[in-house]
Symmetry: C2
Subunit: 315 residues, 2 copies
């Protein structure tokens, strides 16, 4: 199906990494299968971090392997370093999302090394990828965390974001992902940052990863759309949070994101009613987690016509 | 103080009209005074509807009179018809917000008459206003409810919104207010509607009234800002809801709106910390009402620099 915007589910990684309760492997796979069936074409299914650091991802290999059996689904995984990349390459995963924070302090806290060490490791990952047979080479994404602000450092200079984006491209990244890890972004800052990054790395895709911590998430999506961004991360029911902001919401809500895009006439390939039904799987396995989402509460507008039939809408 | 954007509190009207519990007059006045002290320069303090229809507004006269004692505050009230206007004119209120729905069905349900009857009554209101001594003439606002969709009729043709806006101007409106009464709007539709209305009535101010029913509220604000809109309604803690969408949030959250604008470098004149403190007054009088708001949960970003000192921000 032709889509205007690619929406990418990250709740199984960004959402579940916050949950102390183990989400059973079978339920993860049910979630992935149901969301893929609803039309979500790319899912970050897990993280290749040491299970002793985050026990939630002890089933990373099984989740990856089984997800790759779903026809048409792009299976992605987060990697903090080349050790993680090796696990992904062994599995033949489709996409490796490497993380580095633009904020020096955040990178030290999150992956325990300097940004230059992260970047050097990213170059090794590209080499490992290039050494693979062509049919098994994953897409390698350079992630820029805390690109719109940092809970340790506050504001982050736009030029730092631009500079690391350029380094990623030079190192051989196939795609860049710009993340507002702690939800500090606003539409004006989003325009500045994405305009700078797109001007620098325009020839490869640039994705946006927003958190809704201070309610600006979907406004930031709209601003990034204006800049030309067509790939957005989100998590079903806004699962997840921020370890530095107790009670705060986490990623933007997938269901609300898909509604906004579809309402704007932008095709996502996602069936909204089927997507909303997937929330029951999350609720079943995490009965105590707060599920966010305005569309789930309010329902679709009266006589709603999806983007795929937008020509039927009145002027 | 010079501001870039005027934010207008409507929670005392749009929020409280949903509440079956009577919010004590003294508490309403405490809320108004505290929010004015936090820097909100315009408040819709009540509605001149018959108290037997909405008992919450039985104290409309007292609330208006006492609010007008606050220096620098623009005191506004909603009016459904010329009877309400007469009450406002007798009080010398600063601003009369007249409501008419662009949707025929919604207008019939809400004010029990045809749109043409509403418009004819609006002309009488302008005449009544013009007959007042100049020093006591209120600003008369022509409101366009359900301008972005209707829970009875679904989509509303953009040209209907434009046409009624033009009729308001011809009738002598000082300002137009375009309302997404049931939260159907998205940034693309907002652009279409506000571009059409502004082109038609450009010489008088156009305000926006958004509901966050489907999570698009602040994204719609950002889109309207792009069109040149500089007046926005909101309610503290998102108080209120929609009688046609149980459990749905109501107006956009004043605190989150002010944060987004301020973060974008747009001065509102509002002190965010003092504004957040006003939530306690609402909580005290409506202990069972759900208070919304992401900023209240997450707090300000680290080292946050307000718009009034934006020159200190790093690039």
């Amino acid at each position: 199906m032709n889509v205007d915007v690619i929406v990418r589910e990250v709740g199984l990684r960004d959402g579940l990494q916050m949950e102390s309760t183990f989400f059973p492997t079978g339920q993860k796979l049910a979630w992935i299968a149901a969301e893929a069936a609803a039309g979500v074409s790319e899912i970050e299914v897990t993280s290749y971090v040491p299970p002793k650091l985050i026990p939630q991802f002890i089933d990373a290999e099984e989740v990856t392997r089984r997800s790759m059996e779903i026809a048409g689904l792009t299976v992605a995984a987060l990697i903090p370093n080349s050790k993680g990349a090796e696990r992904g390459l062994a599995l033949g995963v489709h996409k490796l999302n490497f993380v580095m924070s633009v904020s020096r302090t955040h990178n030290l806290k999150n992956v325990r090394r300097e940004r230059e060490e992260s970047m050097a490791d990213f170059r090794r990952i590209v080499e490992l990828r290039n050494a693979m047979p062509e049919s098994r080479r994953p897409v390698v994404v350079g992630g820029l965390s805390t690109a719109l602000g940092c809970s340790f450092e506050g504001r982050i200079p736009v030029d730092d974001v631009r500079r690391y984006a350029a380094q990623y491209v030079e190192a051989g990244a196939d795609e860049i992902s710009v993340a507002d890890t702690v939800g500090y972004g606003d539409p004006a800052l989003v325009r500045k940052v994405f305009t700078a990054v797109l001007a620098e790395v325009g020839r490869i895709p640039v994705a946006a990863h927003f958190h809704d911590t201070r309610a600006t998430g979907l406004a930031n999506v709209a601003a990034a759309l204006d800049c030309g961004v067509r790939r957005f991360d989100a998590s079903l029911a806004g699962l997840g949070g921020c370890p530095f902001a107790p009670g705060a919401t986490g990623n933007i809500v997938m269901d609300d994101l898909c509604f906004m895009l579809d309402s704007m006439g932008l095709k996502t390939g996602v069936d909204l009613a089927r997507l909303l039904a997937v929330r029951d799987i999350v609720r079943g396995s995490l009965p105590d987690a707060p599920l966010h989402g305005a569309l789930a509460r309010a329902g679709l507008p009266k006589n709603y016509i999806p983007a795929s039939q937008a020509e039927r809408r009145v002027a």
